[in-house]
Symmetry: none
Subunit: 227 residues, 4 copies
């Protein structure tokens, strides 16, 4: 059995080596520029061996991207669990997401690339796990009554991930490192405007009392006809 285990371990190790070599290669120049021959050499396996683990170059590419998103998801879960307040969780998640996008921008671009070039929609699937972390935060906020139940989760995602993606991309395009704190602040203001509509000014008292007072006066007024 130890032999079987050893064999399995060897396989796992080899797969890991391939994945790492491939990640490095794809990061350097994208799907097209990476050479299977170089990946094989870096992983210290023969070219043919790559095809024992992955059907083709694209499959290897997808595996790399998938693994990346899995890493991200785990990291996101970790930082989210460190907080209890949904609002803080949201803010923490935003910071984490922005940092990761900025740090591994190449891999995010690869995801876009995959979505663009690929016939498969695997990219969407990959992000799914990550998006669920976000959805979880929203859900918890709702069940705790901190967030309004009326906001559509899909739209919230658009706001959240769209803004962060775009902010990261334009920052990178301008060569800036990050102005993370400010964008996070702005994003939170925007998010909370949707998640907690008029939450703080909603002291319903004034309105209700006004309604009631007017209603009563109207009743009186009817009793005393004008004139």
């Amino acid at each position: 059995m130890s032999r079987t285990q050893t064999r399995r371990e060897k396989l796992a190790e080899k797969e890991e080596a391939i994945l790492q070599a491939a990640t490095k290669a794809f990061l350097l120049g994208g799907l097209k520029a990476a050479r299977m021959a170089e990946i094989a050499k870096a992983a210290q396996v023969a070219e043919g061996t790559l095809y024992l683990y992955y059907r083709n170059k694209e499959a290897l590419f997808e595996a790399v991207v998938a693994r990346h998103w899995d890493d991200l998801r785990r990291g996101a879960q970790k930082v989210v669990r460190a907080e209890t307040d949904p609002v803080l969780q949201l803010e923490t998640l935003a910071s984490y997401t922005l940092d990761r996008i900025m740090g591994d921008r190449k891999l995010f671009e690869l995801t876009l690339y995959l979505a663009h070039a690929g016939e498969g929609l695997t990219a969407a699937t990959d992000r799914l796990g990550y998006v669920r972390v976000f959805d979880g935060v929203i859900e918890r906020g709702r069940s705790e009554g901190v967030f309004t139940a009326s906001a559509n989760p899909k739209l919230l995602r658009d706001l959240f991930f769209g803004t962060l993606d775009y902010a990261a991309r334009s920052a990178l395009a301008r060569g800036e490192d990050a102005a993370s704190s400010r964008i996070i602040e702005t994003l939170m203001t925007a998010m909370l405007a949707v998640l907690q509509p008029r939450a703080e000014d909603r002291d319903p008292g004034v309105e209700e009392r006004l309604e009631r007072a007017v209603a009563r006066l109207e009743a009186v007024a009817e009793r005393y006809p004008a004139g």
Copy 2:
């Protein structure tokens, strides 16, 4: 002179034909998949002729993308000018942007592709004109006192374009046509939360006076029995 004009017109026509053929070709499968030979054939010119107008395939590609953004910019300016209220301008621009992204999504992807694959930063430049339309709306809103002057334009762009881009992309990824109205609504809520912070509760005088008026009303109303 009519001869000169004719020549120029011929050149312009030929360039237009090339550009159209190229747009079609690039839209079909991106930069890589498009074949110069096919573009030439579709434009009814010889392959060599393409190179009289554009240095190489990539230059032709960039020209296609640039023209697309120019079209967009013009369209955006038009819809914005049709409104006078900055808030409505913003909303109109959002709708227009979303529609165009959804409609020409391939060309948006090509822009991303360009940003990803290209060594040139042309992509950013192309968008610039379009972004300026947005900036113009914000600026007008500020100068009219409708928007707060404190919001950073860059961050606003991130919110605006990021959300729209992402919404379009994810809608397309899910195969949906569009849920435009709802995302626009959400986006506007978010934007205004940043652009008009506590706009309605602002000027506490109103609230206080309202409070006082209600109190007096209540006092009066209580003097007259409910029945």
Copy 3:
């Protein structure tokens, strides 16, 4: 008539401009690398105009090479005529030839190139005029009794031009500027060995005195019997 002359002059000027531009272009990178478009631009004519003067690129190339050899021939005739002694004429011609080969090595290579690549043997024809200068020197030397009549002119050419060509080429290959004087000296020694067999031993003095001395020794020796 002055108008006709003007026209002719214009044509001649244009042809000259083309030839000069072409020479420069071919010198830079040979037949293949030169671009008709660049030649046209340098000559300040349209591309099509080149073809009014020369059937095609190769014909232009040949014209350039031919003109070069004509220049050389004229120069050779000049230096040869400056001397009267055939031996000195030979030496002068050798120096001149070597200098020109070294100086315009590119054009010599082009001649070789023409011989190699071209289907026409034009190259040989071009050199003909130059070779005739050499033949003339030899002929004069013979008729003056300075050179032996028995040497085959063709073989002499092989010796003369072959050595000079090769010397120049190998010097250039080694990046040396020239060791001209020594090669000229050696070549002359070799040439004269063929053209003036036993030429230098013709200092009869030494031989005669030696002959006389031996004769006297023999006379003495004979007086004393061998045994």
Copy 4:
């Protein structure tokens, strides 16, 4: 081990086939005219395979030329070793060289072509081995006292190879097969004029008679002791 050997043999065979096919192709029309596709087909390998053995077309070309010079060198060494007298070695080498140039003139032209077109100086390197055979003959002649030590080897090479190259080229240009014996004779006369200065004026008669006279006088002298 026999398997390994088999593999190596296969590789060697394949390389040989490529080299032969390439030689044939390059001989037909030079570097430019030869088509990699045709070479591959002739060698019965795929086009890509050519690039497993040679970096590119030019490298293949150089390999062909290099092999040619290696062949020549071996042949030259053989004929030289068949003689012992340096003068005869020189003459034999001249004949061999002339024959080979005439026979494989295309490959010689290719060498020139390489020198002309190539950025690399490989051509010179290739000839080096061959030239050394010549240098060896000269050196031996010197150490045996047959050749004068004063002649510069470089100049001798110019004379030897230059004359032979040129003779072959002009003979080929004139369509003649060869007038080898006469040119060899002339060349040897010229070479020896440089290598054995005053060789022929050594009219052995005088020397011999001097020797004899002195010998006889010595004999007489012994009979008549001094005093």
